[in-house]
């Protein structure tokens, strides 16, 4: 095994006794302090974005993982077929689905199932995106909403209606259920 001898810097006595190094450090921090104090007085802190007033929403990248939500297709059909894959893969077990049958007289009867209850507990959700990845119907997406807050546990439980409200409509992804293929 090759031995690497690390070259330690040769210090002068005043460096060894923290005299010149101390002065250098103090000068550096004071420089930063004065620079930032002047920026603060001018009310333009450069490195900090003051959150509730300034938001970075416009700079969110495309791959940003925010709150998961359900989407409908171009015919306003619920994409979710309640296969429960997301429920099973969800690491913190935040998703709860109760499947329901689509009645025979429904135009989308051949899809057979849709969720009766679809709940995501946003207190548990870790925004990992596994549900989006596993979904065979491309029905669940992570949106860019990140400030999910509530004053009670019940408020943090996103039900089906809320999930569709966040998710909205997505077109032209899966066409297998459409008549005109």
């Amino acid at each position: 095994m090759a031995t690497i001898v690390v070259q330690r810097p040769k210090l002068a006595w005043h460096e060894k006794w923290f005299i010149s190094t101390f002065a250098k450090g103090m000068k550096l921090t004071l420089g930063h302090a004065i620079k930032n104090l002047l920026l603060l007085i001018g009310r333009k802190p450069k490195t900090t974005m003051e959150y509730p007033e300034q938001k970075w929403d416009l700079n969110l990248p495309d791959y940003y993982r925010g709150a998961p939500a359900l989407v409908t297709d171009e015919h306003d059909r619920e994409r979710c077929v309640s296969c429960q894959l997301c429920e099973f893969i969800c690491p913190p077990k935040a998703i709860k689905i109760i499947p329901g049958e689509i009645p025979g007289d429904d135009p989308w009867a051949k899809v057979e199932k849709r969720p009766k209850v679809f709940e995501i507990d946003m207190i548990r959700c870790i925004y990992c995106g596994m549900c989006e990845e596993v979904c065979p119907e491309q029905a669940i997406y992570l949106r860019k909403d990140y400030a999910i807050t509530g004053t009670s546990r019940a408020e943090m439980l996103h039900d089906k209606e809320r999930l569709y409200e966040i998710g909205g409509k997505r077109v032209g992804l899966v066409n297998k259920w459409n008549e005109l293929k």
Binding site: F22, M26, L28, H32, A33, N36, L37, L40, P45, T47
Partner: protein
């Protein structure tokens, strides 16, 4: 019965109580709170951040958006919010601690720090003859003739708080923190005590208010440019200027020992969070933790106060006699004949100096990394101890061969 009551000087009693309330509750405690705030803001600007800038009382001038932005620094009510938070937090006592000592320790940290401010001369004299006072009121609670000795005696009790906290917590990190703190504080007590001996030799005096008065008349120890200290006004005696050498060494040793004594970075090995979680106060929460925190800052304020009194002229205004000559107003202290505005100005000067010292403490904390424990001990025992001793001899030699005027 009447004999006892007639022997009590009521005016003195009232003045003392007023001074105690003024100094502890109106100055030291708010100063502690605001030095925490200053620490947070100063560290923020050093690290290119903004810091806590938006606490205020809604619908007032201190309100949210229209907060008083003094130089762009908002959030001036942050200390109140912090205090409220500490009071409302759960005061949790772990099951494995020794209850009695666990409760005693925070008080033992806070109380000595506040006790020492009794001998701190925070002002010269307040001439309250307008309000019917017959004598000017001294700017010190207890005008002891053993000021620095009293201070060291009481402030060294602070180590018990930390040791007992570490011991009573009955868990390994607090224990290690307590052990470290005790050895560190006891070691640095020696160099702290020895470092001020040259100062006492020069003053020939152990009364802190008389030291301040001396410096007011004859130049600060580290700024000997007026009165009997300057060669142009004392007939060419350079003794005070020569004494700047031992006094400089003395000041450096004193300041560094003060850092170690108050457990501040770069010597905060007692609560070194990278090794010991939070050191001796790991098991503490809520107001008990806050007492440790306040005790540390109060000790810092008292330490700065002592440094200011001994080396930087206490309450005296720099170049006061020269200023008085120039302006015609009286800026220097004359016993029994100091106008009210000068008395007030002296108090303001003292606390301004103390605050500058605290800012220096904070500045150092956010600049230097922590020392290793053996380095700390080596510095205390192998360098400062000897340096302080030699310094005493050097001062004595200078005083013998170049006597002061």
């Amino acid at each position: 019965m009447t004999g006892i009551f007639s022997s009590i000087d009521v005016a003195f009693l009232i003045a003392s109580v007023a001074k105690i309330v003024f100094l502890t509750f109106l100055v030291i405690l708010p100063m502690v709170a605001y030095s925490v705030y200053a620490e947070r803001r100063f560290s923020a600007i050093i690290q290119d951040r903004v810091g806590p800038n938006r606490v205020g009382i809604p619908l007032t001038l201190f309100g949210f958006k229209k907060d008083l932005q003094i130089l762009g620094i908002g959030g001036l009510l942050q200390p109140m919010a912090d205090g409220l938070k500490f009071l409302l937090k759960e005061d949790f006592t772990p099951g494995h601690v020794n209850k009695f000592y666990y409760w005693l320790a925070p008080c033992l940290t806070m109380v000595p720090a506040l006790l020492t401010c009794a001998v701190m001369p925070f002002g010269s004299e307040l001439d309250l003859s307008w309000f019917g006072a017959t004598q000017p009121i001294k700017g010190v609670i207890a005008d002891l003739n053993v000021g620095p000795l009293y201070m060291f005696a009481i402030s060294s009790l602070g180590v018990y708080g930390i040791v007992i906290a570490g011991w009573a917590s009955n868990s390994k990190y607090p224990f290690l923190g307590g052990v470290r703190a005790s050895s560190q504080m006891i070691s640095y007590e020696i160099s702290l005590g020895l470092s001020i001996i040259p100062v006492l030799m020069i003053f020939g005096e152990l009364n802190l208010s008389k030291m301040s008065a001396f410096q007011d008349a004859n130049g600060w120890l580290l700024l000997p440019f007026w009165g009997d200290s300057a060669p142009w006004s004392n007939g060419g005696n350079f003794s005070r200027w020569l004494l700047l050498i031992p006094l400089g060494i003395s000041f450096v040793v004193f300041t560094v020992s003060m850092f170690a004594e108050t457990n501040r970075t770069p010597f905060d090995l007692a609560e070194c969070e990278t090794e010991l979680v939070a050191g001796y106060h790991t098991e503490y929460s809520s107001m008990k933790f806050a007492l440790f925190f306040l005790g540390e800052y109060a000790a810092m304020i008292i330490g700065s106060g002592l440094a200011v009194t001994l080396f930087l002229g206490g309450w005296s205004i720099p170049f006061a006699p020269l200023l008085s000559e120039l302006t015609g107003l009286q800026f220097h202290f004359i016993p029994g004949d100091t106008p009210l505005y000068t008395g007030v100005l002296h108090i303001v000067t003292f606390f301004a100096k103390v605050f500058a010292c605290i800012l220096f403490f904070i500045w150092v904390r956010w600049t230097l990394p922590r020392f290793r424990f053996d380095q700390l001990m080596a510095l205390g025992w192998k360098v400062f101890f000897e340096l302080a001793l030699l310094n005493v001899i050097l001062t004595a030699a200078i005083l013998i061969w170049f006597p002061m005027k």
